[in-house]
């Protein structure tokens, strides 16, 4: 199912130390800088799915938008097929626009309500000057069949407001599919449609991935559903990636204190346990306009080490071959401290 990256070949999508800072006018004459992304690196290959999880406001959407060059990052590079697309003019981006598409969160506002389904799905072809009118119609019908809107002719002349949320999202997927892209950003594609059609849509996305070898960046704040859809997961906190690894391992054995808290915050599927007391993430996430020093999670961290975590930025530690975590607990300094603490407590006990 998941195609492992070919050794030595450049990844399809490569974010290198990307930062996205928004300047906004604050109170008075002061300008505040919102550090929505603050140095993230990520690679994605064809046929691969990476889930991005994290609380609201941690920069998931911003990362997705940078990856589609809907935003020009403040720092860092975005490579697509080894070509830097960070500073390319929009007019020279046609090739990229063909190969990278997006599926968006809100199927109610991401489709033009004044266009028929046919016009919506046809639009990428029109924009890229693809084919004759009849060829385009054929392609539209093909895309609709691909997302299991059958028979396509039933839907062609309808307007989106006559469709259900799930059907609209299928139209959104069909639109992304018409140009057979290699990369699709799926930004919370099922969070706004009713629960009954979520599984169906995710199954459809996986089916399409297998058939067309699409790479997905799957943004969600629900780490539990990510398990069934994305083999790899990336946890973000305040504009940084704090932990990355196989989703199953991440859930069974979370390393970063934030990931641990996030998993505890996931609602228990068993109603009997729902009222049971569980440790949840204490406090609200601080604003990316005011990022804490040292480890940005330190004000909320239950195992925070004073004098270290609030002073020194945590290192990126490769814990296993396919797992990384950014936390002092796993870094050399932190390990040293832990050992020291251990000896102290031993001597105290003695």
């Amino acid at each position: 199912m998941t195609v492992q990256p070919e050794i030595g070949a450049a990844p399809m999508l490569d974010l290198q130390d990307v930062a996205m800072h928004f300047k906004s006018r604050g109170r008075g004459f002061r300008t505040t800088t919102v550090r929505a992304l603050d140095g993230v690196s990520l690679t994605l290959d064809r046929g691969e799915t990476i889930a991005i999880v994290g609380e609201s406001g941690c920069g998931k959407t911003t990362m997705g938008r940078v990856s589609l060059r809907l935003l020009e990052p403040t720092a860092g590079r975005v490579l697509f097929d080894n070509i830097d697309i960070t500073e390319v003019k929009e007019s020279r981006l046609k090739g990229f626009r063909r190969r990278a598409q997006g599926i968006f969160q809100d199927p109610f506002t991401s489709l033009d309500p004044y266009m028929t389904i046919r016009q919506i799905v046809e639009e990428p072809l029109v924009i890229h000057g693809e084919g004759s009118a009849s060829e385009r119609l054929e392609r539209v019908e093909w895309a609709l069949e691909e997302v299991r809107m059958r028979p396509a002719s039933d839907f062609l002349d309808r307007f989106p407001h006559l469709l259900s949320g799930g059907q609209r999202q299928r139209v959104g997927i069909a639109r992304a599919l018409t140009l057979t892209p290699e990369y699709i950003l799926a930004d919370e594609p099922v969070s706004m449609i009713d629960a009954s059609s979520r599984a169906e849509i995710l199954a459809l996305l996986r089916e399409l991935q297998e058939r067309h070898r699409i790479g997905y960046l799957y943004i969600t704040h629900d780490i539990a559903t990510a398990r069934h859809f994305a083999p790899t997961a990336t946890v973000m906190y305040l504009g940084r990636i704090v932990e990355q690894g196989p989703t199953a391992d991440l859930i069974s054995n979370p390393l970063h204190p934030y990931t641990q808290g996030l998993l505890n915050a996931v609602p228990e599927p068993d109603p009997a346990n729902r009222l049971a007391e569980r440790p949840v993430l204490p406090g609200e996430a601080p604003s990316p306009a005011n990022v804490p020093s040292g480890c940005r999670f330190h004000p909320r961290c239950p195992v925070f080490m004073a004098g270290l975590c609030d002073v020194v930025e945590p290192p990126l530690v490769q814990v296993e071959l396919d797992r990384t975590v950014e936390c002092h607990l796993y870094g050399e300094e932190g390990q040293a401290r832990a050992e020291q603490d251990a000896t102290e407590s031993v001597s105290e006990n003695a």
Partner: protein, 477 residues
Amino acid sequence: MRPGEALRVVLRSGSGRLGIGLLAVLVFVSLLVPFFYPLDFGLRFWNNPIAWADNPKAAPPAWTNLVGDQAPRHRVFDAESPSQTVETGPATTRLYSFTFDHDSETPPTFLSVSVGEVSFYDRPPVISMSLARPDGLTATILQEVVRGQRPDETPPVSRFADEPRRIFLSGDTNALTAATDFLLQEFGLRLSEAEIQGNLEAALFGTPTSSDAPEFEPLTGEYTATIRVITYDSRDAVESVRFVAAGGVFGLMGTDTQGRNLATGLMFGFPVALIIGISTSVAATILGTFFGILSGFSGGRTDTIIQRVSDVMTNIPLLPILIFLIFVLGQKLWLVMTILVIFGWPGLTIILRSMVLQVRSGQLVEATQALGASRWRIMFRHVFFQMAPFIVAQMIFFTPAAILAEAGLSFLGLGDPSLPTWGQILEQGFRTGAIFIGYWWWILPPGILIVITAMTFVLLALAMEPVLNPRLRETAA
């Protein structure tokens, strides 16, 4: 939503049907006007008193005879050739006879005789007129000699070519003298010229009831007016003769104090109002839409400049500017329309900009951008379409504003004299004091037409509501 669907939604509501119906009437009447009116109607006719000389002044509409007193009908008799010609030697007498039934208790409001384009060689022709009454008496009441040849003229001498010679009997000394003679001879009533002047029509269309005062009993029945033109050369010619027994009521809508047929003026006002309203609102809407979308979508300096200009423009009071510019540049309709457009677009621009900002931050723009659409495509294929129903509704809303603004300016006496508008008719009525004297037919129709026209567009805008609001539309569908 497609136009056809939008129209169906509009027609589903009562206000929509009424609005469309009224609009159809307005448009129909407006389309008729160019077939019946010359383009320089305003200058050549409406504001030219001679054109209305033969009409009764301040006469109510003819249909008011259906209730209350019977006012005499307005009668105009035109003849190009005489009904009888008598030759006596070299002289030719042309007789133009007009018979009519006078059945009103009120005499005609005035009598006039017009002779158009006379040419002569030898001696100037003589014009006279007599009136045969139902009681068998005949009054000769006019005798006039056309002005003779001047030393610098060579025959044939032409007279009254540009404008017919029009004689109002009650203003003509000869006619008054003749009438005095007639009353003295037939009834033994001796009246001074001053006494007869105000009562000429009553005297001719009645029988005296007193032996020394100008009091008359109305005499109804068949009257025949005969106009004689005597010429003294066989080559002499008379082109046309007209006799008017002016009524106390006139036409469909009556007349004003200058005798102007209000129906003609009001009818001409239809296309003028529509052109003022629709062209200014279309122009202001196009500008407002363009700048609004540009401003909201481009951001940065373009946005700032457009917004500053709009803010300044919307805060300038329009009326003083209009009055000032009209004083400087003259009373021109195009000037008023231009100013309304210049000051009309910024309001829409400000609203549209904020709408664009909202749409821009939405996922549709993001999704379309990801497809590789150009800014122009996003702006005008998607953003514009999102707002199109709103823009159309705004345009409809702005239409009466322009019509009312023109009416208001005309009411201040700043209208364009070359084009009659409802506002001008209303203003002239007020200035003449029509409202105090009770000339309701001069005040009410233009007022009502302005209101109805404005209301038509308000009704249409109301009916657009479900088109604008997709949620209302869905429940209606």
